[in-house]
Subunit: 662 residues, 2 copies
């Protein structure tokens, strides 16, 4: 028997990281030929965009895909970034687990130090050919060019040839590789990927030269490089015990207080002292002497003291405008009914990393009612194309009961059906991907919870719209019936009793007994015609305030007859209607200029100073324009209070467990 | 500008593989606390089972989970394996990418050299505590015991303490670790995982000591260690160009022919010569001199010559009996209607690795009709608990149009609804997982295709059953109507015309004009009562052969009055019915012994020697008992020929693309 143990021992050996990934290339995103080609483009583009932004340069990228033969393609990605110094080129492009962004906390596309070197490895594995890199930094006259392969036994670059060449660019990098792949069109294509990149990175110009057909240029839509995201220290929330011990061991600080203050964000000296006191650890103890029990006590104390939420200048959200634009772009010529105002949640923390979640939903119109909703996933401004089922974004969508918000969903879980597109963006100083292929966000409880809350918040806005539409159409039906039937009854009765037909306005107002508000937006080229009508179908005179959310500076003042009595924050408008006699109609109309359809597709109208029960067609304005907390009470759509804003998500068991509970 | 390039260059540095995974522990399966605890158990159990099987030992495992405090648990896994020699213990348990199975091609649970060391790293990261390992090989008197941590900066083991201790085991290994986790019950629990392991590894005894409640013992159900799976050379199919070049560079062979013959499986000298000839490469060329173009030509030539399918003794399928047993176990006390006979596909190859796919489906009865079907996934006899959405198994299930096979599925894609459980096992010398957490099989086209074909083959068997049931119930209704109504009409008519009621048997046979076969199985303790009745409802005498698929040695001969005229292969039975007069009934009954309910829940009955159109209740036996190719022609269930057995699956674009086509 012991001979077996010795026999087995002989087989034990080290595996180089590149051998590991060479044999497990599917982990890196090279599982099928179409995906392999997209992954090759993606890794190079991520690197180029990161490099340009690191240097504060407006990116100008050229992506070229050429067909060489059968399943062999040549991919070239060229950028106007700062270039890479000669010495680093081989390591950056032909060595796994080597990079500049792994040890920092800041929002970047690349973080693992694997991506583009994996492409080089895949290229040489499948075509036997080396990668070609050219790079120029601005104070040199010439560019450095080399051919590289990755020695997978050692995980080190092998330079096949190198030279200095003239390059008419001032600075930048060009990367070229032959890979086995398959070029396709459709939803999971390089074109769609680059379009997605262009939408959420409007400061980048991207030129795409496909293997066949015409060159496509995604023009720059903004001349501003996004403000550089700051590198930060870990936030104390979610730091693991072992990590704390290791940080304490290697710190240069001499006292616990200065250690906590300098190595973590959001811990002031005062807070550091509080933490030490609660934990029973002397504030001037040497961090290197921190015992296991003390470290545990420090972590417990961190939970007890009040620590500020993380800085948000380390994060770069997509923002409301670009989310709407992204959704519109996906729609193409398809017309939707309603863009739910996008939701951006406050930054939260997982394992010391700040992150935030954004959600946008577009609904109805010509979107297909018979299909599952379409899901658009983004992480740090990169579109995620594969591994949808593995992603916490998808799992969160599956876990929400969309029946509450007006979509179909069998059993209240799973991907809902209906005419909708749901866009979710997760931004973080560290995206926890499920694998090195960076296509799916892992099911980290803190992130999963935030995605669900953001989805529900945006879904409530959708539901408000659907409720309003349903209410209005119901009231309209009642109103039409009353207006049609009462005169007929009156006429018939008058005939029978042989008397003249009575005046009916009074009767109708008695039956209806409501103030009826009807509003409309008509988009027309560069304009929106807006009208709001208030019908007093009560037997007495009414007075009320009318409120609208409209960007005041976009109103064509010539068209605005009724001036508002108040304009707050540039967009909260109030009109005073002092007296509206029974059966009288108040009418407000104006034109809006310079807004796109998806920027203004629905009026937000409220009233106040009148009994809520007697108004139909609008909600009563909540105190101090607190529109976010407008409650929905119809048809089971949840109130904020009911659902609990935080902490109610049952995320821990993964999507499968949630499905199992159906 | 150049200063930026130099600035960025300074930040470039190497990332140790353990640092990488410490910061990306979600990739290793430590994304939530519940999953982290299961992953810790799983990695240790995988290792123990592999070690026992390597040594040909019947595994006897003890798994203990103790609650230490709050979210801290202690996991202990002890086995009776061959033990690990002292020198290797630290590397095996506290060094990533180190192992014995990465460089071999044979079916094993562990292949990456990451698993259990990742658990050690996770444990020290979250609790600050070291792992404790004890191991004894049989020719020593004492066991070696040590406390280990993984130095993540260097990816090397750090021995905290070591000693020799007395251990009453003859040989074996014990692994103990404290981890942050959460212990839960339900579908994604340690108990369910171990149950799954026990079912598909009936030769293992597993004792589970949970943190609360009673110890559970999964007893050994088989005394046979599965035959050791052979290590093999790569099969030439799917070998990449770069891989071929690299193999040629490092081979010890002196000629191309001997290189091809010795380094690949299924290439004889003759085939090697054919390949060289087609490729235009001299057979005695030195492999080390193989040029890129020549390598390409060799790969093309490999596609053209006939190469045998891979050996299958390197693979260890679960097999029909254990699949049925696995399904039954999941059902518990729930009674199903029908176990579709499991399908085991022939071995195929991806990237040089043989693999095979098995599928079983259980349907109906008390299974819930309103839920999605339940999916059970296995890879190399390991139950997969997480990442269901990421798995090629799930994506293949979603891509099949289950409406053709009797399940509900909106739009013909997505996870179907209905009373069914689908079990899929993928066995391979190398499972291509989507990440190092080994919970989902990657969407490799060759594997995806085989899973779909296996699913469809098993689904056809389900459909045959459903068709038969539907046909029978339809015929029964007709028959009952005829039997009820004809006598009433006759009586009424007789009364009206004042004549005696006529004899009706002849009339009924004329109206029915069928031979009606009705069969039944009644399970009863250890027995099954089987009966087959043949009613001749035609106006003339009939002769025919009756065929059944029954294990002949399980028939209680005392109960078998009518002896078959032929028994082939021990289970293909034929009776000859020489003459069955009009309105006569033939009845065959017998008891079966020693079969479980799920092993025999439906008779397979066929007839021959009679016009197919005049028989109801059974199919006509296809030529030479070729039951596999029995065609289904009703309601759009596909015929083999129609669908094409091979190559028709549109797998390349991933599940998302397939979904998009809805």
């Amino acid at each position: 028997m012991s001979s077996i143990a010795h026999e087995l021992a002989k087989k034990q050996k080290e595996i180089s990281v590149s051998e590991f990934f060479e044999k497990n290339k599917q982990i890196l995103g090279f599982d099928s030929l179409t995906r392999a080609l997209i992954t090759s483009v993606k890794e190079a583009v991520d690197n180029s965009l990161d490099a340009c932004e690191d240097a504060g340069i407006l990116p100008d990228l050229m992506v070229k895909v050429e067909k060489i033969e059968n399943n062999e393609y040549r991919v070239t990605v060229e950028d106007n970034g700062p270039g890479i110094v000669k010495k680093q080129v081989p390591n950056v492009f032909a060595r796994l687990l080597y990079g500049s962004r792994f040890h920092t906390r800041s929002q970047r596309r690349g973080q693992q130090g694997i991506g583009v070197s994996a492409v080089v490895m895949y290229g040489q594995l499948t075509t036997g050919k080396a990668a070609k890199v050219k790079s120029k930094i601005s104070d040199e006259d010439v560019a450095y060019e080399c051919e590289l392969i990755l020695d997978t036994k050692k995980n080190r670059p092998d330079i096949i040839s190198e030279d200095f060449v003239i390059w008419d660019r001032q600075h930048g990098t060009s990367f070229q590789i032959n890979v086995k792949g398959k070029y396709i069109g459709g939803k999971q294509s390089i074109f769609e990927y680059l379009k997605g990149v262009a939408i959420v990175n409007p400061h980048a110009k991207i030129t795409f030269v496909p293997p066949e057909g015409n060159t496509v240029v995604f023009e720059r839509a903004s001349e501003q490089v996004p403000p550089p995201t700051k590198e930060i220290q870990p936030h104390p929330e979610g730091v693991e015990l072992g990590e704390l011990l290791s940080m304490a061991k290697y710190t240069e600080s001499l006292k616990m207080t200065s250690f906590l203050n300098t190595e973590f964000s959001r811990i002031s000296y005062r807070v550091a002292r509080d933490i030490c006191e609660i934990a029973g650890v002397p504030p001037d103890q040497k961090p290197q002497n921190l015992a296991l029990e003390q470290a545990g006590a420090i972590l417990e104390a961190i939970k007890k003291v009040k620590i500020m939420a993380p800085e948000t200048d380390c994060l770069s959200p997509i923002g409301e405008t670009l989310i709407r634009k992204g959704l519109k772009n996906v729609l193409g010529s398809v017309k939707a009914e309603f863009y739910a105002p996008p939701v951006t949640r406050e930054a939260k923390v997982f394992a010391g990393n700040p992150f935030l979640v954004e959600v946008g939903i577009v609904y109805g119109g010509q979107l297909n009612r018979e299909e599952s909703v379409q899901i658009l996933r983004f992480a740090n401004r990169v579109p995620l194309m594969y591994q949808q089922g593995a992603c916490a974004i998808t799992q969160a969508i599956e876990a929400v009961d969309w029946r509450r918000y007006g979509l179909e969903q069998r059993g209240g879980s799973g991907i809902p059906f209906g005419p909708a597109i749901i866009l979710v963006h997760v931004a973080s100083t560290k995206i926890p991907f499920t694998s090195e292929s960076k296509e799916a966000v892992a099911n980290i409880p803190e992130i999963r919870e935030e995605i669900e809350l953001a989805l529900k918040a945006c879904a409530r806005r959708l539901k408000t719209h659907l409720n309003k539409a349903a209410k209005r159409s119901k009231a309209k039906v009642k109103f039409e019936i009353v207006q049609d039937i009462i005169p007929m009854i009156a006429e018939k009765s008058a005939k029978i009793v042989g008397k003249p037909v009575p005046k009916l306005a009074g009767t109708i107002t008695k039956i209806m007994n409501v103030v009826w508000v009807d509003d409309e937006v008509k988009p027309d080229k560069n304009k929106h015609h807006v009208s709001v009508k208030i019908f007093n179908y009560t037997p007495k005179s009414q007075s009320l305030h009318l409120h609208m959310l409209v960007p005041y500076d976009k109103i064509d003042q010539k068209t605005l007859k009724e001036k508002p009595m108040e304009v707050r924050d540039g967009n909260k408008l109030t009109w005073e209607i002092k007296r509206l006699s029974s059966t009288e109609i108040f009418e407000l109309t104006f034109d809006l200029h310079g807004l796109s359809q998806e920027q203004y597709d629905e009026n937000e109208v409220y009233v106040s100073g009148i009994d809520a029960a007697s108004v139909i067609g609008v909600e009563v304005l909540p105190g101090d324009w607190d529109l976010e907390h407008l409650k929905i009470t119809e048809e089971g759509a949840p109130e904020e209070g009911e659902e609990g804003e935080e902490g109610e998500v049952d995320y821990d068991d993964g999507a499968e467990a949630i499905k199992d509970e159906e």
